[in-house]
Structures are given as structure tokens and as C-alpha cells.
């Protein structure tokens, strides 16, 4: 099926299941601990061995030798694989950093060995007996502030004449912001079990993108995709960290090949931070020019961010390209090639870090103009795409987000001047920020079948990374085929199923529901053919098909105990991006408190208003947004992968050192969905929301801290060491 033009008004107009607050269908499995996560799939292959991976002890250089004798002789050890036993393994288009093989070390904790043993303890003990001899390379770059960009970047947007308009503007701000490297810090570590059958390998793993993983593993193992099966039905969080093939999968496959037995490998937590990917550091320079009454006339957003040679960096100016109206816009992203681990996508890549700067800069502008920051944003709402004035927004309700939020939050009663509102020793402040995140969709396929018992089954290689895919796909099929949600079984994450969008870029929910919609339409047409009726004349309700007075129970449509099934893929036409900018919008409101003596920052209230098309399920969507707000609070106040500029690695590489918010950090969170349909986006008129929720949160917190104290911290995270010296002396 092709989605070539906006969905008509009649498509899914009065839904009975889609958009309703259905509880997570996989909830009982999660709460009883019986959802099978990759590392605990003891039943999928007999006689599993355990592999313990070892990461490089240096950031750059050469591994000269590995002494394996002691480890090989250790009790329980079955095999020792070292990177020197292999040539550098080929990488697919999705990977930058070496995964295994060869003697070159390109970043700290690059995988250099795997000890396979009968138990985890013996594998780990064996790994500690390996003896590595390195020749470190001192020509390396680990400090973003001291690394020049490659210099060959083209502007992302260059409209009008920024320099002139900025020079002529009566009110200007010119500010620099930095954001640190961040780790996805998902609950479940990267983990895989691999087993070979002849030249075919099966990988039970934890991965967001089954098709990419399959293609990438085939490339890296120098085989063809048809020899690879991936299975990843439950994923304990990813946030972008599991978009790509990683060392756990490669090592498990190589270990299984070497030993002839299934091997499982989990990346130990302290290895994840440097072995896998991170959100890159940014140095952002923002210049905004405005008229005296607050109309923006010029914006420039320049960014520098780190990447491994050949890799991609954090595209922080991305939101600025489309957010505020201006005739003169200049955005550029520059990549500094460095030898830190691989920077890559993390929840709302580009937008999340870009808005940490842009939305704080907007607050600085409002301050300078002595304007309400809500009104400043409303005044500068874009009607057409600032980067390409020929394009309009499919739907854009940013102003409504701001107004609704201001109303709900009690913005008119906000603290006006730093220091004016106090609770004991705490200074109270309020902050607002806008949220912007693109709403892409990707081709997505599914199989939908009527089972002999009249139930429905959905099969797709789509993944559920804790987001609620199981539930919204069940709702989609239930809606389309007229059965209760409980009668729909959803099977995900298996590469033998039709290829889906996968989970990433907040495209998963909208794309995969569209794919299931397409398969349901195909199945309905097939049923119409079977019944000798016209598709448009059928209604599906109460577990039966109704047409012209006759009713056929769904189970009667199956024959000989076989399913009646149809497969289709939803393809999205170019009209979506050629004519429109399809995006999501939001507004965040924060009340924060700052201790007047210690500089501790804590949150009192958080409110998000989201414009993200049809909300497919308010329960799972809310859960996405409050999780994202929590992550935004982490980015604002806590999260930073500390770089050791001499040794070239992220030092605080465990969950004790890399602090993400705990329950006590997160106050009451309120989420409001505008729930307006966007027919340009998909037949379900939905857009993603899982990444929108993190966009702008950190800036709203920064603005609240400034409002409380008059202290503007431009280097995230806003930790108390950056505040305490600026508070009034005692």
C-alpha cells in the first residue's frame, strides 16, 4: 500500500480502539518478570556457554600481543578469542567504530577479546588472566575545545542574509552553550545469544532495528543476510543505543562458531559507556537579532560536535532550521574528528541538544527585551518552513501548546524577578521552553492473520523497546478487524516476519501502525474476495464480518485449521517531505527550586503539552513523555560523561558515576496531549511522541534556574558547582 496523499476525513474517523487508554498488553509479563529478555533466554538453545568480553585498556594505538596461556588453562574456560586472531571485520553502513578484529585500537574499551567458559564466573576469571601488551599512540585528540572541525561542512540552512540582518537588528544576543556527552543508560545491557546450524546463525538479542541488525551482522560475519536470523521480542530500553549491531552480537556469533556451541555475551555495565555509542558533545554558538518589539529578524546556530574519523556528529542546529520565523537563517553543523568512542544517535538526536541551547537563548532574548518568554515564542511562531518558505507545516499547534500550558501551569502567577519567591532557604523559579521534533515515517510491513479460533495474530519485525508497540499494534488490528484487543496476539522482533520500520527517530509507532493498517486492509480485501463481496461494503465488528445483511464469524473464514493471512507494507510517498514539514511540537513548563546556600537544584513541578497528531494510546504515550521528561531532567541537572582529556575515555563509566535521575528527583509530572489529527502523516493521522518529550525540557529547567537565581549556566549539566560561587556571599 502506498500513502501518496493526505488521508481523507473518513479514514479512521470514529475509532473504537485506536486512541483509547488500553493498558499495556505485555504488562503482566513485565510485572511478573516473565518477559523473555535476551540474556535470560535459556530455553532457546541447549548447552549455552558464557562469553566474557574484554575492552581495550587504551584509547588509541596498537595491540601488540595477547598472552592467552593462563586463561586457556583456567578451569571452565573453553575458548579464548582475541582480536589479533582475526582481520578487522568489515562494517556495514550503520557502524563506524571497529567491532572486533585486527590490532588497531580506535577507542577505549573497543572489544579486544572474548573468553568463553562454562559459567559466567569462570569466563570472567579467565578474562582477568589475559595479558595485553599495547603500543599507545600519543597523536590523538580527546578535547573538543581544542579540536578544529574538518572544515568541509555545508550549511544546513542558509536563507536570506544573516550577517546583514543581524548587524542591523536593534536587539541582539550572542551566546555560547555546551552540552556534554551523554549515555543512553538503558536498563538492559546489550546482550546476545548466538547459535550456528551449519552456515546459518541465529541471534537472540536486544536490538531496536531487526533488519539493520540482520544486514549488518551478515556483512560483519562475511555471509549473506539469508543465513542470519535475528530474534528480539523484548528490549529493556534502547534510546538509540541498540539501533545498530554491537560487539555483544559479533562476539557471541564468533564465540559460538569457534566452540560449536551456543554462546551468550552481555556487555558488562562498565564497558557499555565506552564500547558502544554516546550522544556527542556540542559547542553551540547562537546569535539572534530582533526588533525592539520582539520580532526575530535573524538567527544563526553554529555547532561543533565530536565524531570518530568517518563518523557522524550531533546535529544540534536541526530544530532551529524549522522552529521560529525569520527571513535570515544560518545553521551549520561542524564535525570535529576525535578519538573518543563512537558518537551516534540518542533519543531525539540533534533536537535534544540543539534545544538545550536554542530555547535557553530564546529566554535570554526575552529577558533582554523584557518580554514574557511565552509571548516572544508566540510572536515568532513560523507559518512556513523558515529553511524553505515554499513548504508549510502539515499541522502546527505550537501556539496552542504554549497557551494551554501557560494556562494549566499558572504562568501568569510566575516568579518575576530572581530572588522574589522563596520557600525557606530555597529560591523558586519558573521556566518555559518550546519543543520541536521532526515526525518521520518509514516503510513498514506486517502480516495479519485470522486464526482458526477467530482470534487475530499480527507478525512484524517491529520492536517494542518498552514503548508500547505490542499494545498499539494490537489496538490497530482490533480496530480494523472488529475484535477486542484481548483477541489479538502480536508477535514482534523476528527477522522471519515482514520488515518493519523498527524503533528509532520517533518513527516506530506511526510507521508500524500504518504497516499493520496496510496488512489489515489487504486481509479485508482478501476476505471480501472470499465472500464474493465488495470490500467497501464490509463492516468488521464483534468478531464477525457483516455485509448486506449477512454475518460471518471470523473463525468461519479459516479452513483446515490454517490461518487466513495477508501481508503488506506501507510505503510513504515523497509528498510528505516535498510539500510539507511534518513535525511535532510542544511546550514545557517547570518550577524549580535552588538552595540559596548550597546551590542544589531540585524540581517542584513539570508540565508538558504535546502536539503530536492522534495519540494512539494515552497511557503508553504518557508513559513515553514522562520518561522523556525524566531524561530531560537528567540532561539538565546530572548527566555528563566526564572526559579524561589525557587518557581519552569517559571516566564515570558505570551507573554509580554516571548519574541519571532517581525517583526523588522527579516531582509531579503533568502531560497534556492536544490530540489533533494530522492526515498528512499516516492513515492513522498520528505522529511520534517518544522523542518530542525530551525536547526542550532541559532548557525549561535552565530557564527556571535563571529565573530563581539570576544565574545563567550555559554549560550543561547545571550542577551546583556552577552555581554556588555565584550565589550571594554569606
Amino acid at each position: 500500500m502506498r500513502f501518496d496523499k493526505p488521508a481523507g476525513d473518513s479514514v479512521l474517523a470514529d475509532t473504537k480502539v485506536i486512541g483509547k487508554p488500553v493498558h499495556r498488553v505485555d504488562g503482566p509479563l513485565k510485572t511478573t518478570g516473565t518477559a523473555p529478555y535476551a540474556y535470560e533466554r535459556h530455553d532457546v538453545a541447549a548447552n549455552q556457554l558464557v562469553g566474557w568480553p574484554v575492552g581495550a585498556a587504551i584509547a588509541k594505538g596498537k595491540l601488540k600481543s595477547v598472552g592467552t596461556k593462563k586463561a586457556e588453562a583456567a578451569p571452565g574456560v573453553v575458548a579464548v578469542l582475541t582480536t589479533l586472531q582475526f582481520d578487522r571485520l568489515p562494517l556495514s553502513q550503520w557502524n563506524t567504530a571497529n567491532l572486533f578484529g585486527g590490532d588497531q585500537i580506535e577507542h577505549y574499551h573497543q572489544a579486544v577479546a572474548l573468553v568463553v567458559a562454562e559459567t559466567l564466573e569462570t569466563a570472567r576469571a579467565g578474562a582477568a588472566m589475559l595479558e595485553f601488551d599495547y603500543a599507545p599512540d600519543t597523536e590523538a585528540s580527546f578535547d573538543l575545545s581544542k579540536t578544529a572541525p574538518t572544515g568541509d561542512e555545508q550549511p544546513l540552512s542558509d536563507v536570506g542574509n544573516f550577517e546583514k540582518a543581524y548587524a542591523d537588528a536593534p536587539v541582539t544576543i550572542d551566546v555560547n552553550y555546551t552540552t556534554p556527552a551523554e549515555s543512553h543508560a538503558m536498563m538492559e545491557p546489550h546482550a546476545s545469544i548466538a547459535a550456528w546450524d551449519g552456515d546459518e546463525v541465529t541471534l537472540w538479542t536486544s536490538n531496536q532495528m531487526i533488519q539493520w541488525d540482520k544486514m549488518a551482522l551478515a556483512t560483519t560475519l562475511k555471509t549473506t543476510p539469508d543465513k542470519v536470523r535475528i530474534d528480539s521480542p523484548y528490549i529493556g530500553g534502547g534510546f538509540g543505543s541498540k539501533l545498530f549491531l554491537r560487539a555483544d552480537a559479533v562476539l557471541a556469533a564468533l564465540g559460538a562458531k569457534r566452540t560449536g556451541k551456543p554462546v551468550k555475551v552481555q556487555l558488562p555495565r562498565p564497558m557499555i559507556f565506552n564500547n558502544t555509542t554516546h550522544r556527542g558533545l556540542t559547542e553551540q554558538h547562537l546569535k539572534i537579532g530582533a526588533t525592539q518589539d520582539g520580532k526575530i529578524v535573524a538567527i544563526s546556530h553554529e555547532n561543533k560536535s565530536n565524531a570518530l574519523p568517518g563518523g557522524s556528529s550531533e546535529k544540534a542546529p536541526a530544530p532551529t532550521q524549522h522552529f521560529y520565523a525569520t527571513d535570515n537563517l544560518y545553521c551549520i553543523n561542524r564535525t570535529a574528528e576525535m578519538h573518543l568512542p563512537e558518537s551516534n544517535a540518542m533519543r531525539a538526536p540533534g533536537e535534544a541538544s540543539g534545544l538545550m541551547a536554542l530555547e535557553a537563548a530564546m529566554d535570554e532574548l526575552a529577558e533582554k527585551l523584557d518580554m514574557d518568554p511565552v509571548e516572544l515564542r508566540i510572536m515568532n511562531d513560523a507559518k512556513v518552513d523558515p529553511s524553505n518558505p515554499n513548504k508549510t507545516f502539515s499541522r502546527r499547534h505550537f501556539v496552542e501548546c504554549l497557551r494551554t500550558g501557560a494556562d494549566r501551569f499558572g504562568w501568569s502567577k510566575r516568579n518575576r524577578k530572581p530572588g522574589d519567591t522563596r520557600e525557606g532557604a530555597w529560591l523558586i523559579g519558573h521556566g518555559v521552553a518550546g519543543a520541536y521534533r521532526g515526525a518521520p515515517a518509514q516503510a513498514s510491513g506486517a502480516e495479519v492473520a485470522i486464526r482458526p479460533d477467530g482470534g487475530v495474530v499480527v507478525r512484524t519485525d517491529m520492536t517494542d523497546i518498552g514503548t508500547g508497540s505490542y499494545t498499539i499494534l494490537a489496538q490497530t488490528a482490533a480496530e480494523m478487524l472488529g475484535v477486542p484487543v484481548e483477541r489479538v496476539r502480536v508477535e514482534l522482533g523476528d527477522s522471519r516476519y515482514p520488515v518493519s520500520s523498527g524503533s528509532g527517530g520517533q518513527f516506530g509507532a506511526v510507521s508500524s501502525t500504518a504497516g499493520v493498517y496496510a496488512a489489515c486492509v489487504a486481509l479485508r480485501k482478501k476476505i471480501a474476495d472470499e465472500l464474493g463481496k465488495k470490500h467497501d461494503d464490509l463492516t468488521f465488528a464483534d468478531g464477525a464480518v457483516h455485509a448486506g445483511g449477512s454475518t460471518t464469524e471470523l473463525k468461519k473464514l479459516t479452513r483446515g485449521g490454517r490461518e487466513l493471512s495477508a501481508i503488506d507494507t506501507m510505503h510513504f510517498g515523497d509528498f510528505r517531505s516535498e510539500k510539507y514539514v511534518v513535525s511535532t511540537f510542544g511546550a514545557h513548563f517547570i518550577e524549580a527550586r535552588v538552595h540559596s546556600l548550597t546551590g542544589e537544584v531540585r524540581l517542584n513541578r513539570m508540565l508538558a503539552v504535546c502536539d503530536a497528531g492522534r495519540i494512539l494510546n494515552p497511557i503508553t504515550a504518557r508513559s513515553q513523555v514522562i520518561g522523556a521528561m525524566t531524561m530531560g531532567a537528567g540532561a539538565a541537572l546530572l548527566e555528563e560523561m566526564a572526559v579524561d582529556h589525557d587518557r581519552g575515555f569517559f571516566v564515570n563509566h558505570d551507573l554509580a558515576g554516571y548519574e541519571v535521575p532517581v525517583h526523588l528527583d522527579i516531582p509531579h509530572q503533568e502531560v497534556v496531549f492536544l490530540d489533533v489529527l494530522d492526515p498528512v502523516s499516516t492513515p492513522l493521522k498520528a505522529k511520534g511522541v517518544g522523542e518530542l518529550g525530551i525536547c526542550g525540557v532541559a532548557a525549561a529547567i535552565a530557564n527556571a534556574v535563571n529565573n530563581a537565581t539570576g544565574i545563567r549556566v550555559r554549560d550543561y549539566p547545571i550542577t551546583l558547582d556552577k552555581i554556588v560561587g555565584k550565589l550571594p556571599t554569606i
Binding site: A125, P270, D665, P717
Partner: protein
């Protein structure tokens, strides 16, 4: 983790003997620190003496009017004890500011005193660290040292002692009771338990080989407003950047010990005489010799301001 033998001791002297008779031995109590360190091969004992069966899990009143806390009393039970909450509230507040409920259920009093530093380089066996691997150097000096000591460190090590409980114990003038392999007992003031790193940061305490902690005694209650203020980036489940344990008497005199700034709870009985003059007066003496890094120089003003917050809370 290396292979080790495990011996379950049934009385303190036997525990001490067993530990002393093996070259590379450790006591194990709750295991919440030691087992983590063994998994990472930061500690590699070949013999463990389990002290959990010694029956030292009671809190009793002493003839002097204080409390005697068995080494095996869990952090949870100690914090919840009515007498502790009433007479030594700074201890309860310090305990519940530490770790999490689950950890405090397992963590013991003796084990808490002897938990090791949270210096991130100590935890990464690829990195030079004089404490973990004497003579290898100190990666933290010149590296990432935001959490580390501003006073009491040396050119060889600037690690902090991470315990919250120990800071409160120090301000309460607690003493440890021990038994050695010959069955001899002694008591050691908290301040004498810990050594400063000097050029041997791997030697952290003045306990002799095999010497086992059996109890901690608290002297007669001293009253006053007792406050533990722990400053950290997140609200819970994080070690202190700076913490202040204070006992403030109605006349403004009192006691102050700091956590998060030094290799041991940091207190100076001379410095705290200035308490009636305010936080600045105390800190000017207590932290006069501070030698922070660029990363952690904020701790010096922060300590002063935290004490000011404590005095505000105490109403002085």
C-alpha cells in the same frame, strides 16, 4: 573474581586467627562493597572469613549511659533503633542518607566503616592507581577529580572516604572495639581508625592483620540539635560531594565533621570552637590547609555554605 576459600567463623578470636593465618584474607560481612570489588578484581582475596555468624547483631546500653552497637547490626536496624533516633539523631540521618534501602538492609556497621573509596580510577583496573596497585601512579591527580578530596590527600592519592555513617560516628566520638588473633581487645577512636594516604594510600586503617571489629560504642548522649546535611547532585542514591554532621547546642557551641572532602571524616576539635562565630569561622580553620584541584575547588566554599545551612536549620 578469583577463586577463594570461605571460612565461617563462630567466635571473634577464631575469625581473627583465621584471617591472620592466611596471607591474602578478608573478612566479609554484608558483602555489599567487598563482592563488587572482587568481581572487578580490585580486591583479590584468596581466603574469606565470614563474620555474619558471630552473633554481634545487638544494640545494648552501656554502663556509661551510651550504646554498644554490634558490628553486624545492619544500617537499616541501626537507623531505625528508637534510642538512636532519640539520642543520636545525627547517626540516623547520616545512615538514611546513604545508599538505598536494599543496600542498607545488607550493609553492616563494621563493613560501612571499612568500605573503600569511590574514586572512578580506583574502579578501572586499566588505570594507574596507587591505592589499588601501589607505585603505579595516581590517574585522578590531573584527571577527573570532581568527587575527590580537597584536604588530607597527598601527591600519591586524593581519594575520599565515602561513608556517611562514619562522619556521624566521628562527630559523636564513637569508638570501635576490636579483637585480635591473640584474643586481645582494644578500642579505637574513629579518628584513629583511618590513616591519611601519605605515600602508602593502600594502607587505609590502623587495624592490625586479622584484627576484627566487634562493636562500636557511643558515649552518653550529648543532646543538642543534631543535623546531617548531605549535598549531592541528585537527591538520593549518590555519594556526598560535601556532607556536614553537626551537633549544635543551645548556646551555639557544638561539633562539626565533614564528609566527602577528605580521606576520612574531617573534624578538628579546635576549629569547631569557633562555631558560635558562624560557619565561616569554623571552616577557615577546618579547611585552612585545603589543596583542591580545579575540578573540586567548589567544595571549599560549598562546605562553608553547607554548614551555614545547617546552622540555619538548627536555628542558630
Amino acid at each position: 573474581m578469583r577463586a577463594f576459600s570461605l571460612e565461617r567463623a563462630s567466635d571473634p578470636q577464631q575469625a581473627a586467627k583465621s584471617a591472620a593465618s592466611h596471607e591474602n584474607s578478608k573478612f566479609i560481612a554484608g558483602g555489599t562493597n567487598l563482592i563488587d570489588l572482587m568481581k572487578l578484581e580490585i580486591e583479590t582475596p584468596t581466603h574469606l572469613v565470614d563474620v555474619t555468624q558471630l552473633g554481634l547483631d545487638k544494640i545494648e546500653e552501656t554502663d556509661e549511659g551510651g550504646l554498644r552497637i554490634g558490628t553486624l547490626v545492619s544500617n537499616t536496624d541501626l537507623a531505625a533503633d528508637d534510642r538512636v533516633r532519640r539520642d543520636y539523631p545525627v547517626l540516623t540521618r547520616a545512615l538514611v542518607a546513604g545508599a538505598t534501602g536494599q543496600l542498607r538492609n545488607k550493609a553492616t556497621t563494621g563493613g560501612n566503616f571499612l568500605q573503600r573509596t569511590r574514586c572512578p580510577y580506583f574502579y578501572d583496573t586499566n588505570m594507574p592507581c596507587n591505592k589499588r596497585n601501589p607505585g603505579s601512579g595516581c590517574a585522578a591527580i590531573g584527571g577527573y577529580s570532581r568527587q575527590l578530596a580537597v584536604i588530607g590527600g597527598s601527591d600519591h592519592c586524593i581519594a575520599t572516604h565515602p561513608s556517611d555513617m562514619a562522619v556521624a560516628m566521628r562527630v559523636l566520638d564513637a569508638e570501635l572495639e576490636t579483637v585480635d588473633p591473640d584474643g586481645k581487645t582494644r578500642s579505637i577512636a574513629v579518628d584513629d581508625l583511618y590513616r591519611l594516604p601519605g605515600d602508602t594510600p593502600e594502607k587505609e586503617t590502623n587495624l592490625k592483620p586479622g584484627e576484627v571489629i566487634t562493636a562500636v560504642t557511643l558515649p552518653k548522649p550529648v543532646g543538642g540539635k543534631q543535623i546531617y546535611y548531605k549535598v549531592r547532585d541528585r537527591s538520593s542514591y549518590a555519594f556526598a560531594l560535601v556532607s556536614v554532621a553537626a551537633i549544635v547546642q543551645p548556646d551555639g557551641t557544638g561539633r562539626v565533621a565533614l564528609g566527602g572532602v577528605a580521606p576520612k571524616p574531617w573534624r578538628d576539635e579546635e576549629a569547631e570552637k569557633a562555631l558560635p562565630q558562624g560557619a565561616g569561622a569554623v571552616m577557615d580553620t577546618l579547611l585552612a590547609d585545603a589543596n583542591p584541584t580545579d575540578d573540586n575547588e567548589f567544595k571549599v566554599p560549598l562546605a562553608k555554605r553547607t554548614l551555614a545551612a545547617v546552622l540555619q536549620e538548627a536555628g542558630n
